[in-house]
């Protein structure tokens, strides 16, 4: 059994107000894969991500992590396995100091104090933010907040990292650092984003959503170079691909 594999089987979801957000989405993401989830606003990307760690439950179909279907009984295991990094870091950081915020998850796992401290240190070192451990999160820059938000999830030692718009609001240098960090991870990575250039650099595979339906799934360069497909679903061929070959 591998916890690194995540699978969606024909999942559909309608919000209580009647808005249909996902319609029969299926995919399987294997060990160590980096997959970009792209689509225009309202395509269902964030809703899909919230299904992957059990925050939302599909009306139809199922999510499987490894060989285990995600149910009310397995949701704790799922949250341990699938680390979710939110779009707005301010939503993710709610404790009084960086250290306490990164320790929040490990403490909830009931780990021993020494192990909690080891994990916090390792996670902050991994994202290069160990020097900020005693600072209050709301005083950090957007780039620092994003890195600390990733550390809060890394401290849970998840097998799968799921990120919603990780590069939004970052300056070019912070974005570059983030890309290098994402490339260095060995986790299975699922990244929902409008930053198509980031997808080209980090993800070998891409899934395109439109109106809650999966419309394409395949190698990043093949799909992003397919201009008619991209335009038909409210996207465009990224600049980096237009100029990566001789004119």
């Amino acid at each position: 059994m591998s916890h690194y594999v995540i699978e969606a089987r024909d999942i559909s979801f309608t919000y209580p107000g009647g808005m249909e957000a996902l319609r029969g989405v299926s995919f399987r993401i294997g060990h160590g894969e980096a997959v970009g989830i792209i689509g225009c606003n309202g395509a269902g990307k964030s809703t899909l991500l919230l299904h992957l760690n059990g925050y939302l439950t599909p009306n139809h179909g199922e999510v499987r992590i490894g060989d285990v279907p995600l149910t009310r009984q397995t949701v704790v295991m799922a949250r341990r396995t699938v680390g979710l990094v939110f779009q707005d870091s301010d939503d993710q950081l709610f404790m009084a100091s960086v250290f306490e915020d990164v320790a929040f998850g490990p403490l909830n796992l009931g780990l021993a104090d020494d192990e909690v401290e080891r994990r916090v240190k390792a996670a902050l070192d991994r994202v290069g933010m160990a020097h900020l451990r005693d600072r209050p999160p709301h005083r950090l820059s957007a780039g620092e907040k994003r890195a600390v938000a990733i550390a809060t999830v890394l401290a849970l030692e998840p097998d799968i990292l799921v990120m919603d718009e990780p590069s939004s609001n970052l300056d070019p240098r912070a974005r570059r650092r983030l890309i290098e960090l994402l490339r260095s991870f060995e986790h299975t990575r699922i990244i929902a984003t409008h930053d198509l250039e980031l997808v080209v650099e980090v993800c070998a595979r891409v899934i395109v959503l439109d109106g809650g339906t999966l419309v394409a799934d395949g190698p990043t360069r093949d799909i992003l170079n397919d201009e008619p497909l991209m335009i038909a679903h409210g996207l465009e061929r990224p600049h980096i691909l237009r100029h990566s070959h001789p004119h």
Partner: protein, 268 residues
């Protein structure tokens, strides 16, 4: 002055993380001592003023040893003071009977009880604020839970405190939005005000929902846990015993009155 600066978002957390002999004390001991302090202060008769004076020693000592800036606590007291003053403001009119004198001026029972309410307010609220400032809200909640406060109340207290910042933050953003488009007009129409308050509630709820998602995603199951909960040592016991002894003494003898009589050579 903006609302954000007024409530000094995050300052309480910063103070709570400092290191001092008071910060190092066990949260339970500080909470119990402060509860004993509040109960003692509230147990005096309604006209008592002078006997309350020695009780200022407790919050002032905590502030001095815990290096809590008195100006910070004072600003918080001023924000809350209208509520306390409103409680006693009618007393001077309802109770005009003269009960004491200051020089040649007679002082009515109403003014005495009003002063007593104000002094008690300053004592109890400053002690409670200093307690939070030199403990940190999370440690305090965990400490209260360990002395028997039901978990649901401890978590409510923690979340109430945390979401206060969320609402203040949303309010600030909305106010900025209004100011950008109000073209110098300072007052808002009633309809605009109602709409703003309604939106503030909705936005704060949506934001709180997202924060809750983040907490649940990291294993939150209804309990705030702290790293290395402290164990009670002899210093904590000495702190509790010393202060409770002092409160009992100050409750039994009017120390300020005795001191006054001693200094002025009045009869014992």
């Amino acid at each position: 002055m903006s609302f954000g600066r007024y409530i000094e978002v995050g300052k309480m957390d910063e103070l709570g993380r400092m290191d001092s002999p008071v910060h190092r004390l066990d949260a339970r001991v500080k909470a119990l001592t402060t509860i004993a302090f509040i109960v003692t202060v509230m147990s005096f008769s309604r006209y008592e003023v002078s006997a309350l004076m020695p009780f200022f020693i407790y919050p002032i000592t905590l502030m001095a040893v815990g290096r809590i800036p008195p100006g910070f606590i004072l600003r918080k007291l001023l924000i809350a003071s209208p509520f306390a003053l409103a409680v006693g403001i009618c007393n001077p009119y309802l109770d005009p009977q003269v009960m004491g004198s200051l020089g040649s001026h007679g002082i009515s029972g109403g003014w005495l009880s009003f002063t007593s309410i104000a002094v008690r307010f300053f004592l109890t609220v400053s002690a409670a604020l200093t307690l939070v400032a030199c403990t940190g809200i999370h440690r305090l909640c965990a400490g209260l839970e360990r002395v028997g406060l039901p978990r649901v109340f401890a978590v409510q207290l923690c979340l109430l405190y945390r979401y206060l910042f969320v609402i203040a933050d949303e309010g600030l953003r909305m106010r900025r939005g209004v100011e950008m488009r109000s073209m110098g007009r300072r007052s808002l129409s009633f309809a605009t005000y109602v709409s703003l308050v309604g939106h503030l509630l909705l936005r704060a709820m949506v934001r709180a929902q997202r924060i809750y998602q983040a907490m649940v995603s990291r294993g939150f199951s209804g309990q705030f846990r702290v790293l290395r909960p402290t164990a009670v040592c002899w210093k904590d016991v000495a702190f509790l015993a010393g202060w409770v002894g002092f409160f009992a003494a100050a409750r039994t003898w009017n120390m300020a009155g005795e001191l006054g009589r001693f200094l002025t050579g009045g009869g014992a």
